[in-house]
C-alpha cells in the first residue's frame, strides 16, 4: 500500500467536506482507479469525478497514470464563469 495526500480545490472542497484527505492505496492504483474509488466511497464526489482535473505533484495526470508513493494529488473542478 502507498500513502498519498489529496487536496480539494474550489467547489470540490464543499462536496468533499474537507480541504485535504490522507489515503492508503494499492501500489498499482491508477488515476482512473482513484476516481472510481472516490466515486464509490464519497457519493457527493461521484458526479464530479466525470470531469475533474487531477494533478500528481503539480503535474497534470492522465487517467492511465500510476500513482507513485507519497504523491500529493490536487483535484480541481472545471469552472465556466466569465
Amino acid at each position: 500500500m502507498n500513502k498519498i495526500r489529496l487536496l480539494f480545490f474550489a467547489t470540490l472542497r464543499e462536496r468533499a467536506g474537507t480541504k485535504a484527505l490522507d489515503l492508503e492505496i494499492p501500489a498499482d492504483m491508477t488515476v482512473r482507479g482513484l476516481k472510481e474509488k472516490l466515486a464509490a466511497e464519497y457519493p457527493n464526489l461521484r458526479e464530479s469525478m466525470k470531469s475533474v482535473l487531477i494533478t500528481i505533484n503539480r503535474e497534470y495526470a492522465f487517467d492511465e497514470a500510476v500513482i507513485p508513493p507519497n504523491a500529493e494529488m490536487a483535484l480541481f473542478p472545471p469552472v465556466s464563469g466569465g
Binding site: 467547489t11 503535474e59 497534470y60 469552472v79 464563469g81
Partner: protein, 385 residues
C-alpha cells in the same frame, strides 16, 4: 510584413511602453499591427478589452449579443450606468474608443456559434476566451485549434480563477485538460452561484498580460501551464500540463475535424442568463398562473435556493431545501402532493424537477423564471437579484 508607423501623438501616448526595451518602438508598432478577438464583453472581457485598447492593440473584435443590465456593473467595468439597456458591444466600443481613438474596434452583435465562429475568428491573430458557459468554451477552443491560433483562456467562479494559454501548435488545448464537459447542472454558473466582482479583474488582466506577451513575442507565456488562483487564500498555484495523446481535436488521432453542436455536446445552453430557467414543455408554470392558482387552491411551494438567498426575497409558506441537499431529503416531501418548485431564475428548480421526476414525483411544476419572475410580474414589493 512592414510594421505601421506611429504618429507623434501615438509616440507620446505609448511613451511608457517605448521606455521598456522589451517593448520599445518596434514592439509598439507590432501591437499596432496586431488584432485580437475578445469573445464576451462581460466580467473577463471588460478588463481584457480595456487594457488591450490602452496598450495600443491596433484592432480589437468584440463578440456579444447581450444588453447591459445593472446586475452586470458589479464587475463588468467596461459598461456603465449610462449604458444600461444598450447593446454590450456598442457600450464597450464607445468606452474603448474614448480610451484610445487610434485603434479600430469591430463589433459582432451575435451569439458566437458553430455557424459564424470560424468566419469571425479567422480575421484575428489571437483569441481571448471570456465566455461564461461550457459550450462556448469548447467552441472557442476548437476554433482556435482549427485555425492554429493561440487561445488565451480565463475562467472564474466565486473566489476561484483559472488562466492558461492554449496553443495546440506548441502545447495542450482546453480539451486535453477537460476531454468531457461536466454533467449538466453540476457546475453552477456565476448567475446561479455568484462571483466576487474584482475576481474577473484579476483574471482578465492576467489574460491581457498573456495576450500582450504572445503578440510581442516576449517572456514565457502560460503555454503548457495552468494558473489556479484563489482570492480568499490569495494563492497562485501553477500546474504543468501535457498534451493529451488521445485529444479528440489536437491529438495525433483526432476525430473531430470540424465544429460540432456544442450545446448538445455539453447538454446546456450556450449562454448564462440564469433568468429564463424552464423545465421544458408542460412542466412550467408562470408567475401569473401560479398567483391565480394560489387564490383558489393550496399548493406546496418548494424553494431550492441556498438559505442565505432567503434573506433577499422569499415566498411565504415555502419549504426550503437547497438543491444540493434535495436528493438526501426526499423523504421530507410527499410525492402525491401537488407542488411548485422555484429558485432565483428557474435553472436550479428545473434540475430539481428532473431529480423529483426520477424519484417518482408526478405532480410537480417549475416556476418559470423563478422568484425573480414572481417579483417582476406578481409582487413588486420583492426585489429582483
Amino acid at each position: 510584413m512592414t510594421l505601421p508607423e506611429l504618429s507623434h501623438e501615438e509616440i507620446l501616448r505609448y511613451s511608457r511602453h517605448l521606455l521598456i526595451p522589451e517593448v520599445g518602438l518596434e514592439g509598439q508598432r507590432k501591437l499596432k499591427a496586431s488584432s485580437v478577438l475578445v469573445i464576451g464583453t462581460g466580467g473577463l472581457g471588460s478588463p481584457v478589452a480595456l487594457y488591450l485598447a490602452a496598450a495600443g492593440v491596433g484592432r480589437i473584435g468584440l463578440v456579444d449579443y447581450d444588453v447591459v443590465d445593472s446586475s452586470n456593473l458589479q464587475r463588468q467595468v467596461i459598461h456603465g450606468t449610462s449604458t444600461i439597456g444598450k447593446l454590450k458591444v456598442e457600450s464597450a466600443r464607445a468606452k474603448l474608443l474614448d480610451l484610445n481613438p487610434d485603434i479600430q474596434v469591430d463589433v459582432y452583435n451575435e451569439p458566437y456559434t458553430s455557424e459564424n465562429a470560424m468566419r469571425i475568428a479567422s480575421d484575428y491573430d489571437l483569441i481571448i476566451d471570456g465566455t461564461d458557459n461550457f459550450p462556448t468554451r469548447y467552441l472557442t477552443n476548437d476554433v482556435a485549434v482549427f485555425l492554429g491560433k493561440p487561445n488565451i483562456y480565463g475562467s472564474i467562479f466565486r473566489f476561484d480563477g483559472q488562466v492558461s494559454v492554449f496553443y495546440a501548435k506548441e502545447g495542450p488545448c482546453y480539451r486535453c485538460l477537460f476531454p468531457e464537459p461536466p454533467p449538466p447542472g453540476l457546475v453552477p454558473s456565476c448567475a446561479e452561484g455568484g462571483v466576487l466582482g474584482v475576481l474577473p479583474g484579476t483574471i482578465g488582466t492576467i489574460q491581457a498580460t498573456e495576450a500582450l506577451k504572445v503578440l510581442l513575442g516576449i517572456g514565457t507565456p502560460l503555454i503548457g501551464k495552468l494558473l489556479l488562483y484563489n482570492a480568499l487564500d490569495m494563492s497562485f498555484d501553477f500546474v504543468t500540463l501535457k498534451k493529451n495523446p488521445n485529444c479528440r481535436v489536437c491529438g495525433p488521432n483526432a476525430d473531430i475535424k470540424e465544429l460540432i453542436d456544442y450545446e448538445e455536446f455539453c447538454g446546456v445552453p450556450g449562454h448564462d442568463h440564469g433568468e429564463e430557467g424552464s423545465a421544458g414543455e408542460g412542466l412550467d408554470i408562470t408567475a401569473g398562473e401560479l398567483a391565480e392558482r394560489l387564490k383558489t387552491n393550496h399548493l406546496k411551494l418548494l424553494d431550492v435556493r441556498e438559505p442565505h438567498e432567503l434573506e433577499i426575497s422569499a415566498l411565504p409558506g415555502a419549504v426550503n431545501i437547497p438543491l444540493g441537499q434535495l436528493a438526501a431529503r426526499l423523504s421530507e416531501l410527499d410525492s402525491a402532493e401537488e407542488m411548485v418548485v422555484f429558485c432565483k431564475g428557474g435553472t436550479r428548480s428545473a434540475r430539481a424537477l428532473e431529480l423529483l421526476a426520477s424519484a417518482g414525483f408526478k405532480k410537480v411544476k417549475n416556476l418559470k423564471g423563478g422568484i425573480n419572475a414572481w417579483a417582476r410580474e406578481v409582487d413588486r414589493s420583492l426585489p429582483v437579484y
